[in-house]
């Protein structure tokens, strides 16, 4: 392992951390703006031009707020829970190719931190660990709302992870690899996974639905449902600890959008500039869709979500896998 590789990897890690921390901030801005426009409001307007500096104001507020650890909480677990959420969200980014490889000053850069050959398995595993943030934070908080939120989180987690895994089996069987780079190359040669195969389309929709549960966005926004259980696991958190939960949630939204775009919608294609722009456009669409559904759709109850996952989506996913196997065999 030569020095250039280590330096390059460190630089990439720093860049991914900085870019996606900033994007998480911009994500909140976009969310507030889009929701406001859809509800005939203006959203943040006062800090900076068109409220653009609202992110800075929020950041200053979060950083300078008093860090409260309430009496009666389980201290170490309470303190480590937000770190788990934020850290696992960024760890999952290690195996995601954000752009096609490009050459800058005669040096070829691969915009993927670690091209492990089990990339998608790694991403799913690390994102699943991210659930320990809400779970541990909710259980350690000494708060009834947080406890309900943790219980919901555990129940939902079991439900949607089954759908996520089964729906991903189909592209895995078709491509025959776990690396996201192989997914991209396969689709560059054979067309987008979601549209080249009918089974691919079904698993795309299933994975998309499960992604809403994975990131805890609105139709399945049960873990921190403001109108039922305050902020769920985040009720007792203040300042930057709460901010870490927030950054983790928004970074997760971006990363799951990247994963969906790469696995099902062709990724960056042949690796040209247009392909890279296309990937960013797809990611932007997925992110926008997260906000769009928040403006339009109601929340479901936890039992409805589990009903949906276990009784509708999982049978569909299993049938989908079986059909794919039969088609591939003949």
């Amino acid at each position: 392992m030569d020095t250039a590789f280590i330096i390059e990897t460190l630089v990439k890690i720093v860049v991914v951390l900085l870019v996606f921390s900033a994007l998480a901030g911009f994500g909140t801005y976009f969310e507030r703006k889009v929701l406001a426009f859809m509800q005939r409001r203006l959203g943040p307007m006062h800090v900076g031009p068109y409220g653009l500096l609202q992110i800075a104001a929020d950041g200053i507020k979060l950083f300078t707020k008093e860090d409260i650890v309430p009496a009666g909480v389980v201290g170490p677990i309470f303190k480590i829970a937000p770190v788990i959420t934020a850290a696992t969200a960024f760890m999952a980014a290690a195996a995601i190719p954000f752009l096609p490889e490009f050459t800058i000053f005669g040096y070829t850069v691969h915009p993927i931190i670690a091209d492990v050959n089990i990339g998608i398995l790694y991403i799913l595993g690390v994102m699943a660990i991210g659930l320990y943030g809400p779970l541990l934070g909710g259980m350690a908080s000494n708060n009834k709302w947080s406890l309900i939120s943790a219980a919901r989180g555990a129940a939902i987690f079991i439900s949607y992870e089954v759908v996520t895994g089964l729906s991903l089996l189909v592209p895995l069987m078709i491509v025959g690899s776990l690396s996201l780079l192989d997914f991209n190359e396969y689709q560059a040669a054979n067309g987008w996974m979601a549209f080249a195969h009918p089974m691919g389309f079904v698993s795309f929709i299933l994975f998309w639905i499960a992604a809403f549960a994975e990131t805890g966005r609105t139709p399945f926004h049960l873990v921190a449902n403001d109108h039922e259980i305050i902020d769920g696991f985040g009720t007792e958190y203040s300042g930057m600890r709460w901010g870490l939960f927030f950054i983790g949630e928004y970074a997760n939204m971006f990363f799951i959008s990247f994963v969906m775009a790469i696995i099902f919608l062709g990724g960056y294609g042949d690796g040209t500039v247009m392909g890279a722009l296309g990937l960013l456009l797809k990611v932007a669409f997925f992110f926008f869709f997260f906000l769009w559904t928040r403006a339009a759709w109601p929340d479901v109850r936890p039992d409805q979500l589990m009903w949906l996952c276990w009784k509708v989506l999982m049978p569909l996913a299993v049938v989908n896998v079986v059909i794919t196997g039969i088609v591939m065999m003949f």
Partner: protein, 205 residues
């Protein structure tokens, strides 16, 4: 129309119709059909389209308050103002005390004296805005159109004593001399068609 129609209290059968509520699904097949129908009817996409339409139309209803203000009606009753006479610039208030008398929340206090020209002069005039309910009786009763309700509704201040002195409410003398005082068309003022509607004093009877 006969009396029977009015005495017939047997309502509830004639012109009522029931809202159509489907029976709850009993068997598994019926439940499956209901789920399929609801899943494929596309109501979720109708919701998506509605909010997207609003975003595209961009028909924003927000009023950015300190920068933009909604127009208020001419008869809006905000903080009182004291007017001056147009030609001489002297105060219109003649110290008759009608506003003090009619004030139902008892918040107007005035004190008068006879000055050197043997005219009645107002020495003290205060309105306790903490008590004022802005009913507008003072402006309505004023025979000289001296006290009116102005359009200034932003009466936030450091002290509750602000706005309430006669000098604060009075049009500044330099504005009156320049003719910048506006005859406020609001509460207590003469209505626009008053000249046409005025009648002769009925001395004949």
């Amino acid at each position: 129309m006969s009396l029977e129609q009015f005495t017939d209290r047997n309502v509830g059968q004639q012109h009522y119709f029931k809202v159509e509520i489907d029976d709850y699904p009993q068997t598994g097949w019926e439940k499956f059909k209901q789920v399929t129908r609801r899943a494929l009817s596309g109501e979720l996409f109708v919701g998506l389209w509605v909010v997207m339409r609003e975003m595209i139309k961009f028909d924003i209803h927000t009023v950015q308050y300190p920068k933009e203000k909604l127009p208020i009606g001419p008869r809006y009753r905000a903080v009182h103002e004291m007017q001056r006479l147009f030609e001489s610039g002297t105060e219109r208030c003649i110290g008759c005390g009608l506003c003090e008398k009619i004030c139902i929340s008892d918040c107007i206090r005035m004190d008068t004296r006879i000055d050197e020209n043997s005219r009645k002069e107002v020495t003290e005039y205060t309105i306790n805005l903490g008590r004022c309910i802005f009913c507008g009786y003072c402006a309505e009763v004023c025979p000289e159109l001296a006290i009116v309700h102005g359009p200034r509704y932003e009466n936030t201040s450091e002290q509750r004593e602000h706005f309430i002195l006669f000098e604060d409410m009075l049009t500044p003398i330099d504005m009156a001399i320049k003719g910048e005082q506006k005859e406020y068309p609001g509460f207590g003022a003469v209505t626009p068609h008053e000249d046409a509607r005025v009648k002769k004093t009925p001395l004949a009877y």
